[in-house]
């Protein structure tokens, strides 16, 4: 659905995007992560036909963004970073106008439908200029969904929304992502983690990592870290765990719990559990500590955010 190969974009002498290649399939939500100025918005603008690339090939919904820009634009729903709204129109009129430009059949019914989807049906006749930031964001999202696009490109879709709305909009995106291709950029790492099937981490115009969040964790850690807790103060627990072959970096925590790790791919949790129980402890908890996407992000993008 989206296929990008060797994409580069220059702004004068500055190269904003450097030889980017990636793809996104139907029924997949791909997250685009990176620090400010990494080239996320530029890449998205190229994908939507807003601007041509300096080099490389971009195919969206089966069409080349340069050669068949209008065909691409018919099939893409786009929510830019600064939500583009005519503040002097009502939400309903704005969506009707966009629907007419996009030749949406039964446009009036469809406008009601998308307003309902984003929870704004009761504000349909309100002027966009009088809506709150979160509501405007939702009008922008409604605009992107209006023509039931095959590909949805969302630049920071949940920015400015309150927590309740964030949950609703994420649910909406997740549902859309089941049948369509969604590419979304975000700086909220937990959003990428719980919404995206796959994450692309981009820094200084280059992709520095591309994988599922789980695989990224495993790849970066090279080891899995586990916390174990037993009833009582856990005296001698670390010595007991040390007896299991392959366990390393054992550390006793303040509450008596013990943290240890083993090489990833070789799950030692059953052995450790067996050892702890046969040594007479009452096992209360045994859990792996995943590396957060924050840590992965910092690891991959260097010191930019530190």
């Amino acid at each position: 659905m989206i296929k990008v190969s060797g994409l580069s974009k220059d702004y004068g002498a500055r190269r904003a995007v450097h030889n980017l290649s990636f793809h996104a399939n139907k029924g997949e939500i791909v997250g685009f992560l990176g620090p400010n100025g990494a080239g996320k918005t530029t890449t998205m603008r190229i994908l939507t036909g807003y601007m041509p690339p300096s080099d490389g090939e971009v195919i969206v919904a089966g069409y080349d963004v340069v050669e068949e820009s209008l065909e691409v634009r018919k099939r893409v729903g786009y929510l830019p970073e600064t939500v583009p709204l005519y503040t002097d129109m009502t939400a309903f009129d704005y969506l009707k106008y966009m629907g007419e430009l996009r030749r949406v059949p039964d446009v009036l019914d469809r406008v009601d439908e998308v307003l309902d989807m984003v929870g704004l049906l009761d504000r349909a006749q309100g002027y966009i200029g009088n809506l709150s930031k979160g509501m405007r964001q939702r009008v922008g999202l409604a605009q992107a969904l209006l023509h039931e696009p095959e590909v949805l490109i969302l630049d920071e879709p949940t920015i400015g929304l309150d927590p309740g709305q964030v949950v609703e909009i994420r649910e909406l995106i997740r549902n859309i992502g089941k049948e369509k291709t969604v590419l979304l950029s975000t700086h909220l790492l937990n959003e990428a983690q719980n919404l995206c099937d796959r994450v692309l981490i981009i820094n200084k115009g280059k992709i520095v990592a591309e994988d599922t969040t789980e695989n990224l964790q495993a790849r970066l850690l090279g080891a899995e870290r586990v916390v174990i807790k037993v009833r009582g103060d856990g005296d001698g627990l670390s010595e007991t765990i040390k007896e299991v072959k392959g366990v390393r970096k054992i550390e006793t925590l303040k509450d008596g719990a013990v943290e240890f790790e083993f090489a990833s791919g070789k799950d030692l949790r059953p052995e450790v559990a067996k050892q702890v129980i046969t040594s007479g402890y009452d096992l209360l908890e045994l859990r792996t500590m995943g590396m957060s996407l924050e840590e992965i992000f910092l690891e991959l993008t260097g010191n930019d955010k530190k």
Binding site: Y11, R45, T48, G49, Y50, M51, P52, L70, R73, K74, V76, Y78, P80, T82, V83, P84, L85, Y86, T87, D88, M89, Y97, M98, E100, L101, R102, R103, Q143
Partner: protein
Amino acid sequence: MNNIWTIAKREYDNYFSSPLAYVVLLAMLLPLGIYFTLILLFTSQNALMGGGSAPNTLQINWLFIFLMVFLAPAITMRLISDEARMGTLELMLTAPVKDFEFVAGKWLGAMLFILTAAVITLVYPLVLNNFVSPGIDWKMVIASYIGLILVSSAMLALGVGISAMFSNQFAAFFVTLGLFFFLWFFVNMPVSLLPSGGEILNYLSLSYHFSENINQGNVTLAGIVYYLSLTALGLFVGTSAIEIRRWR
């Protein structure tokens, strides 16, 4: 074509949702109304004294066009520049709308607005027709309105073209105003000083074809070609400015 019409319709509605439209209409129609009253007064006085010529409304259309030199930049200044400022241009340029359709839609919206004003001014020849026996020369009136539409079309297209080059509506206003001043007042100023070649400068003047020919009932091919060329030039400049924005 559909897209041009959709965009034009929105622009037209949008004019009437802002005070600008009413200010422009007032600035246009008030002087025209005063002028018309004066025409009626003078001709009736002359007639009472047994002299003077039959009144006509051609001078009113000339004043309409003259006021357009100042008002057209106000009508067109924000058409595209404001979309760039608000970020909605990104929306338009990622919608399945050709750059030309976008620019032409904006121009057509402004044209419809000016046509509305022009239709209101039809009241003057209609009223005058009742006072003059055997009625006014409608062929002259029709020629005059053809000219009015042609000149407006050229001015609004140039205005839209310039608006596409800026993200600040006031910059667009002053550049458009400057261009109209040049084309109206200055371009054929040196004609009387030149031994020859004055016709070329007259040809380039925004007012010449209208004042000297079309508004005298003489709809010349040169005049039509001139105003339509300026319209095409304005729309071309606008479309090119949008394309350049994409590449920047």
